[in-house]
């Protein structure tokens, strides 16, 4: 489905988990949380399949701050590791 980077630099269409996604790179959401409550909460904030997001920063405490629907949302490290995103081509 996606191309794998051999250089460590994310390639267009490369599939990553949110935790390992680089900051500042436009990404497409490929998965939603398995837990329906968490999924509903993220959906209300704009996290849905196909949405465009970007990781703004890796925060102290292990969380990822992302740009989502023009706002900033912090997602904890463990959850971020289970969310798939794709580098926008």
């Amino acid at each position: 489905m996606g191309e794998v980077s051999l250089t460590g630099v994310p390639q267009p269409n490369q599939v990553l988990n949110l935790s390992s996604a680089p900051t500042g790179t436009p990404l497409t959401v490929l998965s939603t949380p398995a837990d329906p409550d968490v999924s509903a909460r993220l959906l209300a904030l704009g996290w849905r399949l196909g949405a465009q997001i970007a990781v703004v920063r890796r925060s102290g405490g292990g969380a990822r701050v992302i740009e989502l629907s023009g706002a900033r949302v912090a997602i904890g490290g463990p959850l971020a590791r289970h969310l798939a995103v794709k580098v926008v081509a």
């Binding site: 209300a44 399949l49 900033r72 997602i75």
Partner: protein, 710 residues
């Protein structure tokens, strides 16, 4: 009512597309409003969008407000009154606007991003606005929409508009949107969403008059029918409709096909389709309602976050902020406390005594009750008003600025060790101000397990009422190190929360998974004087109301117990050491032999502290004053002597043990009431036993170790 106009550029869209024109006279409209059948207007919207601030601006009352999720933890209700408004659209209306009056009941619902949430707070919004029968539903819903984050705010609106409810959008944060290069055209937005839109700035009270007009106009309309979701919205692209399962990406196609073949998969597809339609509706509303300047400048909040959320620097800044808060509350408050103390123990007490003598009540038990009981007790409480005020101002500044939401992110990993989400940090921080609102704030946690665990841990947070006692003991026993000693009690408090969390997680909730962190980070904003003052006053007033009532009752009970003789003397003529009060305290004091403070006045203060920590110092003042009225030693010296004699000379160890006990045992009866409300009596009772057990064990350990060390 004089309210500034909002910055709307053109006439407000009172009659959105498809609605019937309104020709209702303002006199008729306002006449319908008067009386017991006031319309009910519900305020809904995401957290941080300004709901509570708008509620305060409309009603003049003071709901708890702040700039972080979960501030509105209960439904606030108030009366919205207006007068002198021309509320109709008539061209040749002869009604006198000065005569028009009206009022509505406003309810401020908890912040909600959607109607589907599992959080009790957000569920409450759905239950009160959507799930109730039409006869019990609010007459109109004002949905607050953040202009700076329009797409996100419209998700809740997309769900609300599918229900048969009168709806008005109040557009907030317009100034922030402009700073971000986004212009929201309220007229175009109203046309796009089919609902009236009013631009308001509740922090500066602008746009409220327009909001009243639009609300009145909309109330005159019949209930709209339930709107079907728009069909024909843009479908997601091919790879948007199929979820990726990380770790099995090679099987994605197959797993997606399998999912589709099942009933669950079919329902999931249906839900996705509904959401796609909502998002398509939102996208067209945003496109039609906004103009972006295309600027991509780095936002101020991002610049600040780059520093305060940095992996290493962020936690250090957080600790520095907490340290500064407590230094300010101890160092700055001290001279103010001294001044008030001198006022109450001097001129006020003397004036009261002189007044009683003038009416023939001097010298007897009445003077003792009034001067040594009530005035000493209330005076002791009031001397700590500066301390409370400073604490609440600082907490309000942290909340309103947006920093506390960042603190929740920074502490998420640590909270995860306790089995709690980062969001649980917020109620715990509030607990450091006062346990009662902290416990109320646990309602923002979606999971019942997290609520119970947080409710059990909050009593270990050192509230400002306990701070007053720690400051006094610090000043008596630790001199210039008083500030550091008080800071250490806060560290001990944090350790207690951590150990308590680990203990409970390892025993009661061993197999429960952690709740993942998902938290909105509001843009930083400069706290306004009005908002900070309002929040500070609200909390200070709540503290004084709760504390003063309990203290008066406690002082009366203590005075009564002290007036009942166990041996010798008559009622109110018995030496305090011969009273029922001393007898009860003496009966309990052997329990504290191993902790080094088995002295009856100290134990009596702990008994009073179970009722209210605010009353402990007044209890001490009262018992020592009555026990030794001829003595010129101050209260501090009396307390010092008590600890010295009870600990066999190991005074510092005994004081440390007492402070640990004081920190860990039941905060007050008001906290118990709040706990009962949130988690029921069973967990509340469990919490009391847990706190008393932990407090006693730790106090004994601290004293015994301290004694061995010298």
């Amino acid at each position: 009512m004089r309210v500034a106009q909002s910055g709307a550029k053109r006439r407000l869209p009172l009659n959105p597309v498809g609605a019937m024109p309104i020709k209702q006279c303002c006199q008729q409209g306002s006449g319908r409003m008067a009386g017991p059948d006031d319309p009910i207007v519900a305020l809904v919207g995401a957290p941080n969008v300004g709901k509570s601030t708008l509620f305060n601006a409309l009603t003049g009352s003071r709901a708890s407000v702040g700039n972080w999720p979960g501030t509105t933890v209960e439904v606030a209700r108030g009366v919205w009154r207006w007068s002198g408004l021309k509320t109709c659209d008539c061209q040749d209306c002869d009604c006198d606007p000065a005569q028009s009056r009206g009022q509505a009941t406003v309810i401020d619902l908890p912040g909600a991003y959607s109607l589907d949430s599992s959080s009790p707070d957000e569920r409450l919004t759905g239950e009160l606005v959507v799930d109730v029968p039409a006869s019990e539903a609010p007459d109109l819903v004002v949905a607050l929409v953040d202009a700076a984050h329009l797409a996100r705010s419209l998700f809740l609106v997309s769900q609300l508009r599918e229900r048969p409810r009168r709806l008005v959008l109040a557009l907030t944060m317009d100034d922030i949107a402009r700073r971000h290069g986004v212009e929201v055209d309220s007229y175009a937005l109203a046309e796009a969403v089919g609902v009236p839109v009013v631009t308001v700035d509740p922090r500066r009270r602008s746009g409220l008059e327009n909001l009243i007009r639009v609300v009145l106009e909309t109330l005159e309309r019949p209930l709209p029918p339930a709107r079907p979701r728009d069909r024909g919205g843009s479908r997601p692209a091919a790879d948007q409709g199929r979820p990726v399962d990380l770790g099995r990406s090679a099987d994605v196609e197959r797993s997606a096909d399998q999912e589709r073949s099942t009933e669950q998969g079919r329902l999931a597809d249906q839900e996705r389709s509904v959401d796609d339609e909502r998002f398509a509706w939102i996208a067209q509303a945003v496109e039609r309602g906004t103009q972006s300047s295309g600027e991509t400048r780095v936002r101020r909040s991002d610049k600040i976050d780059r520093v305060v959320m940095a992996p290493l620097l962020g936690p250090l800044i957080f600790l520095a902020v907490m340290w500064a808060v407590f230094q300010i509350t101890t160092v700055v408050a001290a001279p103010l406390q001294d001044g008030l103390d001198a006022l109450f123990s001097g001129p006020v007490a003397q004036a009261a005594a002189a007044g009683l003598r003038a009416v023939g009540l001097g010298g007897g038990w009445v003077e003792g009750l009034v001067v040594d009981g009530l005035i000493a007790g209330v005076g002791s409480l009031l001397t700590f008003v500066p301390l409370m005020t400073l604490m609440f101002i600082l907490l309000a500044l942290l909340e309103d600025s947006g920093y506390l939401a960042r603190a929740a992110v920074l502490t998420d990993r640590v909270m995860g060790w306790l089995g709690l989400p980062g969001r649980a940090f917020l109620p715990i921080v509030v607990g450091f101000g006062c346990n009662v609102p902290g416990i109320a704030a646990t309602r923002a946690l979606p999971s019942a397990r997290h609520r119970v665990l947080t409710v059990l841990l909050i009593p270990f947070t050192s509230c400002t009422a306990r701070l007053t006692v720690f400051v006094m003991l610090g000043q008596i026993f630790f001199g210039r190190w008083a500030g550091t000693a008080v800071f250490l009690t806060y560290l001990a408090s944090i350790v207690l929360v951590v150990l308590g969390g680990l203990l409970l997680r390892a025993t009661l909730w061993r197999d429960s998974p952690n709740e993942p962190l998902v938290i909105d980070l509001p843009p930083y904003q400069t706290p306004t004087l009005r908002l900070t003052a309002a929040v500070t006053w609200l909390r200070l007033k709540g503290f004084l109301q709760t504390a003063s009532g309990i203290i008066v009752a406690t002082v009366m009970v203590v005075w009564l117990l002290q007036s009942i003789p166990l041996r010798g003397g008559g009622f109110a003529q018995v030496a305090v050491q011969d009273s029922l009060y001393a007898g009860l305290a003496r009966a309990l004091s052997p329990l504290f032999d191993w902790a080094g403070f088995a002295q009856w006045q100290t134990v009596a203060a702990l008994v009073v502290g179970f009722v209210a920590k605010e009353a402990v110092i007044s209890s001490w003042a009262q018992t020592y004053a009555l026990a030794s009225q001829e003595d010129l030693w101050g209260l501090g010296e009396q307390v010092r002597l008590a600890f010295e004699s009870a600990s066999g000379g190991h005074t510092v160890a005994a004081v440390a043990a007492f402070m640990v006990f004081f920190l860990a045992y039941t905060p007050c009866v008001a906290t118990l009431a709040a706990q009962k409300r949130e988690v029921g009596w069973r967990w509340t009772g469990f919490g009391v036993v847990l706190q008393l057990g932990v407090a006693w064990v730790l106090a004994v350990a601290v004293f015994q170790i301290g004694r061995l060390l010298g």
